[in-house]
């Protein structure tokens, strides 16, 4: 799992370490958007599938299912990853944040900026882009345009929202808005 593992990531026990489980369902515990979930998943299920199909968190989109478009980007222990290339069983004991867990009552400033700058067309890639852009600003509050482009280089937006996405992120950085 990502390097910047949060200190409390080991809070859940890693129930399957050492033992062999599957091919049927195995029990895992993970924290999703602040709620600890006990789930029975097949070892072959990806995190993206489990979020969408078992937890009905359909904001995470699957578009290529090979890590080549980043539509399925969520955070594992705070780092943006392609959830189609992570098995759910791997994140046993870890902390997952999906687009649904980003905002509380109010939108995150990045989400507001996406609306303001119309950094949205069909919107299918948008949740993943939002997750990567927020993660960038968490680690680099004042990125350059090139840094924004590099941070979202793995994302594919077929509609071509990149100019507005970049403008939105730079605008948030300029205004010094951080997470609420």
């Amino acid at each position: 799992m990502p390097h910047n593992t949060a200190p409390h990531a080991s809070r859940c026990t890693q129930g399957v370490t050492g033992a062999t489980v599957g091919p049927g369902a195995a029990a895992i515990r993970l924290e999703v958007n602040g709620i600890v979930r006990a789930l029975a998943v097949l070892p072959s299920e990806t995190l993206a599938e489990v979020l969408r199909e078992r937890l009905a968190l359909t904001g995470t989109k699957i578009a290529c299912d090979r890590g080549a478009c980043s539509s399925c980007t969520v955070w594992v222990d705070g780092a943006p990853v392609c959830s189609c290339m992570v098995l759910a069983i791997e994140v046993d004991g870890h902390r997952v944040t999906s687009i649904e867990g980003l905002a509380g009552e109010a939108l995150h400033p990045v989400q507001s900026a996406f609306i303001e700058h119309d950094a949205i067309q069909c919107g299918f890639c948008t949740p993943g882009l939002v997750m990567s852009c927020v993660a960038l600003l968490e680690s680099h509050p004042h990125p350059t345009e090139e840094e924004v482009k590099a941070a979202i280089g793995g994302h594919l937006c077929r509609c071509g929202t990149y100019p507005h996405v970049i403008a939105a992120v730079l605008d948030v950085a300029r205004k010094g808005k951080r997470s609420p």
Binding site: K61, E100, A103, Q121, C122, G123, G153, G160, P163
Partner: protein, 785 residues
């Protein structure tokens, strides 16, 4: 002028340049003339997207997110062979697989060229498979995995047949034929004479020719000639083709990622023999289409058949591999162009011989662009479809015009150079469009076109180049198109249409138009779209939703308001005649009576009132009509300027900057228009530099059926883009608004190609312009022994 019409003065001309007024005949039910944007409060402003909140929070519901209780999952079995006959097919074992609920065999595939059966023939007894990925059968099971496993239990005996996937090879007389019989000639928009077919070559279609091009070419003072090759581009919608079919005794409901709910309903009703009233098509959020989700395909019919058989809803979502090989594509083309001109630049003759391949489908023509953009008395066009054993092409954003402009706008650039004319000056002479003239003027100034050097004039390995190109696209209007506006007793307002928002933001545009008419703000309007239970709206293709739907939306709002006024006038102790809506209040001209909009609605005797309006003809009529749609009198222009750098040692082309000047009639939401233009330009750059379907000649398989080796522009290839949109009033409808999605992609690839020429002094006539292509053009490839 027919009965029930009147004339009214409409704003006409380009704001800031030539804005005036002209009298137009309009129908009696039409709303009064709409003032120019500067005088309006909702239209012409960048209202935020109404579904923006849902899209940034992940709560927007796409078809892939829809589930129903008891839903089954379907997968499709596809041909592993580029050409084969099915000798036997046995689904017994698949049907007995655990979890399988239904199996459907596709006997009469659609979405491709259809052979004409000979007299007394029922068609071939055995199904022929004509490309890798050709659908054979579908299975519905309790999980997608079970369905996939069952596919592998379908027993098929194939007789592989010879095949051809290269367009040049397919044209040869001894090439393996894709079709054994002639196929039915089909052209966009209506019937056409049956074209000849020899081997795999269907055509040529010469119907657009005029004058005597051959004679004029031989007499021409200047002759320019070139052959251009363009590749297959795939749509790569981020949301795959997806549907959930729910067949019930009382009727069929289909949740589907589609560009045309009403059209899908009509196609399904026809295919299934159901009345329109028993078919419902629904799409909420929609993850991109670009032309590929316009019609029903084999996937749709298979899912419906499975639902009917299994008595359960069936979900079918294509995977990325299927998307790449069998969801449509932009056809490849080979275009040979000869252009003759006088020494002053006047075009005297153009002859285009074009071959294109849409795989097993028709529709690879490119001639519309050259035929329409510049005046030329002698024009000869011979375009043919070449069949190959590859997945069917279909419309993709500005079909035909994108490859057509890539070639023709380079020919014009060459002509300018030969005449030692600035490319802008040549177009001043040959382009009769006053709108593009203004666009060139604005663009040249803001782009600082005058700094352009002679071709190949830069120093060092990294060469900089500037280029420009123009676009032309017909302004299309769907006339089978209606919209309803309802005013509810609490003062809330709904606008309803079956139109779908594929990402352009049409719902926001409707809210703006209705809000403008009712003195409200766009956020006050509830937009209900994407459902055939609402009045049938237009398709989201042909850049026609705004042009088609905003006039009836405005007229419906106007009619609903009149009904409201009529209903509440007695409660004010007056008659409706003198009452109008001003500043949010319904007031009489004498000022004696006045009531707020919401308060007025509260006086309704019924819960709601509403009005439905349908799209009337453009004021003054259309250019011509084709069934459910029509061509407006004037087309849509556009001029794009590109600045590139070419690394002459590595062959890398980088687009540094694009400046686009476009017109779309009255702009309704400038920022959404800018988003559309960004999309067109970025897809155009991607087409020019990166994208191509790669087929393996020995096996017929696509080698890059993914989003990794099928390369697409992303963030770091995105240049600085400036968009300028004219307010070009033509006085032709209640909103005077037209489309922008397609015009915005047409000029991009040729502008880049012209800029590449300007940078390196070598003409690149092949797409995509990869490092390999550029290095070859520069003569930098090693000599091979």
């Amino acid at each position: 002028m027919s009965a029930g019409t009147r004339t009214q003065l409409q704003p006409v001309g380009i704001a800031g340049v030539s804005l005036g007024q002209a009298e137009r005949p309009v129908g009696a039910e039409e709303a009064p003339a709409l003032a120019p944007n500067a005088q309006l409060s909702c239209i012409g402003r960048s209202a935020p997207r109404i579904n923006g909140h849902a899209k940034v929070t992940g709560s927007a519901t796409y078809t892939v997110d829809v589930t129903l209780p008891g839903m089954l999952h379907a997968r499709i079995l596809r041909s592993p062979h580029p050409h084969a006959r099915i000798l036997s097919l046995d689904t017994g074992a698949a049907e007995r697989e655990p979890g399988v609920r239904a199996v459907h065999v596709i006997e009469h595939p659609i979405g491709r060229a259809i052979e004409i059966a000979g007299p007394g023939e029922a068609g071939p007894a055995r199904r022929q498979l004509r490309y890798v990925g050709d659908p054979i059968a579908a299975v519905a099971a309790v999980t997608a995995h079970a369905a996939q496993a069952a596919l592998e239990r379908i027993r098929i005996e194939y007789q592989p047949l010879p095949f051809v996937i290269d367009i040049e090879a397919a044209r040869q007389s001894d090439a393996p034929p894709v079709f054994d019989r002639p196929v039915r000639t089909e052209v966009f928009g209506g019937p056409a004479a049956q074209l000849p077919q020899h081997g795999n070559v269907h055509g040529p279609d010469t119907s657009a020719s005029r004058g005597d091009a051959a004679a004029a070419l031989s007499a021409a003072e200047i002759l320019i000639e070139g052959e251009f090759h363009t590749q297959v581009q795939t749509h790569c919608c981020l949301e795959p083709h997806a549907l959930l079919a729910d067949w019930r005794d009382e009727g069929l409901t289909v949740y589907m990622s589609t560009q045309f709910t009403a059209g899908i309903r009509a196609e399904l009703a026809t295919a299934l023999g159901l009345p329109l009233s028993r078919v419902r098509v629904v799409v909420d959020a929609m993850g991109g289409g670009f032309g590929s989700k316009s019609r029903i395909g084999n996937d749709v019919l298979a899912a419906v058949a499975l639902s009917r058989k299994a008595h359960a809803p069936v979900r079918l979502v294509l995977d990325r591999h299927e998307e790449q090989i069998d969801s449509g594509n932009r056809p490849a083309t080979v275009q040979h162009i000869r252009a003759g001109a006088r020494r002053d630049g006047t075009l005297t003759a153009v002859a285009i011989e074009a071959y294109g391949t849409a795989g097993v489908a028709l529709g690879a023509g490119v001639g519309n662009f050259a035929q329409s953009i510049y005046d030329c008395p002698n024009f000869s066009l011979a375009q043919s479809d070449v069949f190959i054993h590859a997945g069917p092409g279909c419309a993709m954003r500005a079909p035909g015009n994108v490859p057509g402009a890539f070639a023709y706008e380079q020919i014009i650039d060459e002509l300018a150079e030969r005449l030692a004319l600035d490319p802008l000056e040549l177009r001043e002479r040959i382009d009769s469009s006053p709108v593009r003239r203004e666009e060139r003027r604005i663009g040249a100034e803001r782009f600082r076109w005058s700094r352009r050097l002679a071709p190949g004039g830069g120093q060092g390995a990294l060469k900089r180049g500037l280029g420009m190109a123009q676009s032309h696209w017909p302004a299309l209007v769907h006339t089978n198109c209606a919209c309803e506006v309802r005013i509810l007793r609490d003062g809330s307002v709904e606008v309803r249409s079956s139109v779908q928002d594929i990402g352009t933001g049409v719902g926001t545009v409707l809210a703006q138009v209705v809000a403008e008419e009712l003195g409200l703000s766009p956020g006050d309007i509830v937009v209900r779209i994407g459902d055939t239970d609402f009045p049938a709206g237009p398709p989201s293709y042909g850049s026609r939703t705004t042009a088609s739907l905003t006039p009836p939306a405005r007229n419906a709002a106007c009619l609903a308001l009149r009904k409201l006024i009529a209903a509440i006038a007695p409660t004010l102790g007056t008659t409706p005649e003198g009452l109008t809506l001003r500043n949010g209040r319904i007031s009489s001209s004498d000022g004696l009576h006045s009531i707020g909009f919401r308060e007025a609605a509260g006086r309704l005797r019924t819960e709601q009132i509403g009005a439905v309006a349908s799209r009337c003809d453009d004021y003054g009529g259309f250019g011509h009509r084709m069934g459910d749609f029509a061509f407006a009198r004037n087309g849509l222009g556009g001029v794009q300027f590109a600045e590139v750098t070419v690394d002459t040692e590595t062959g890398r082309v980088r687009v540094e900057r694009v400046l686009a000047v476009h017109d779309c009639g009255r702009p309704i939401n400038p920022r959404q228009i800018e988003s559309q233009v960004h999309g067109g330009i970025l897809q155009g750059i991607s087409y020019a530099l990166f994208e191509q379907r790669i087929l393996d000649a020995p096996t017929g398989h696509m080698l890059n059926p993914n989003l990794e080796q099928y390369r697409i522009l992303r963030s770091r290839e995105t240049p600085a883009i400036e968009v300028h949109v004219l307010e070009n009033y033509q006085g032709t409808s209640a909103t005077d608004a037209y489309g922008i999605a397609e015009p915005s992609i047409i000029a991009t690839a040729p502008a880049i190609a012209n800029a590449v020429y300007n940078a390196i002094g070598v003409r690149v006539r092949t797409l995509p312009m990869t490092p390999a292509v550029i290095l070859e053009a520069l003569g930098r490839l090693p000599h091979r022994s």
